[in-house]
Symmetry: C2
Subunit: 291 residues, 2 copies
Amino acid sequence: MSTEVLIPRLAVIGVGLIGGSLARALKRAQVVGEVVGCGRNVEQLERAVALGVIDRYTDDPAAAVAGADMVVVGTPVSAMRAVFGAIRDHLAPHAVLTDVGSAKGCVVADAEAVFGTLPERFVPGHPVAGTEKSGVEASFAELFERRRVILTPHVESAAEAVDRVRAMWQATGAEVVEMGIRHHDEVLAATSHLPHVLAYTVVDTLASMDDRAEIFRFAAGGFRDFTRISSSDPAMWRDICLANRECLVEVIDEYIGTLTRLREALARGDERTVFETFRRAKHARDNFYRE
Amino acid sequence: MSTEVLIPRLAVIGVGLIGGSLARALKRAQVVGEVVGCGRNVEQLERAVALGVIDRYTDDPAAAVAGADMVVVGTPVSAMRAVFGAIRDHLAPHAVLTDVGSAKGCVVADAEAVFGTLPERFVPGHPVAGTEKSGVEASFAELFERRRVILTPHVESAAEAVDRVRAMWQATGAEVVEMGIRHHDEVLAATSHLPHVLAYTVVDTLASMDDRAEIFRFAAGGFRDFTRISSSDPAMWRDICLANRECLVEVIDEYIGTLTRLREALARGDERTVFETFRRAKHARDNFYRE
């Protein structure tokens, strides 16, 4: 290998779309030695070995982290507290611990509850990437290329541990940024958790209408794109939305306010307000995405 | 030509994405003789001639429809009443009149106001197809392939006129169905107008937040698809939403109800309701789209 091995032994707890894609990307970049997978579904883990995503597996988190230089918790956020509890007394002294949870306040609270104080070598993280698919079968090495990974180090995080997590994600082709924990949760509530809630609820509204078969039959092309994220794993998104519910409820309220104002404008035939709302939105999106 | 010329002379009033794509599709299918374009923007009409979409143009609707066998009004719905007024006394006795408006109640009301009684040879129609682009430059012959075109004949529509409009759309590769006028407007409010309103308002909500640059920067892949329809022409969608506002406001109210119930479930940590809402939605969408 011509490149440096950043992580002689990596433990991935939860080998799904994100954990699996991370392992693939690090292997492709030749910056990882051995990858140990851990999870509760042995079939999935065997599949991960067969796909070359991980080198070996165990269903015991304590055994998975023994001797690991980097431990990535890739489970749903609802399982993280249990994982922290299972690995707490088995982490190597030099091991860096990170996670990929889509909400960060709850993960940090879980870690604090389990470890007593937040470990110096714990660096919460969140790769802002994904598809509506889940599971190791859906993983691919390119998932993080040119995507953003947000690290939310806490006040006790060691700079050297942050550097190691940053270097790991940079090796996948991601752009790594740092952000405060609360700020992360507010931004993600708006850009990710709210859109999922809206997509799920619009499909659910239509599905509950009398002529549901016909309703979906006449959905045009835009509807397919608009609702794609509602095909995401409902258990995972229940967990994410509940984990970040404080920020999410706030932005839902803001959204209902905007929608109600537009509804009133439509009801009274207020062309200007309707147009201005649509125009501002198109302008903001077109400015951001040049497609 | 081996195929039958269904329409010796076609007049397209409003040569944009839909009107232009229709002309292209009929030319490709070799079922149209001459295509006369009409609009207010001469540059666009010249471009349409240069692209081979239309054969000639005029900016006078009365001149455009003279001698035409089929007249398709492809303007925004807000302009249809004026177009009907301009062509009323110039239609050939055998001419069939149709339109492509996304809301049908308002178009029928406009026609009734202009013609006094609804003409026998008027067949309201709506091709459920489009992209977020607009203008003749964005038109393409394949736009209607395997898409649905809804005809909403009124009680006075002549069966032979309906047949002619159906044959025209079938030649583009579309599947033609018939539906009641009010039913059309309810179904489209749910499947098309509501999603546009939601996409515009979610982008507008985010754009009004303090850290808007950062907000959009951290939007993940799903957000791009989810908000694509908010890049649609705001003036066109203002017109459509206002034209169908009665049905649209009803479905917005239903939607706000669903969203508010989910917001309450999130606020009280009700895992089951959140999961069931998401699960039902994923199930409904996956059932409909096999992708």
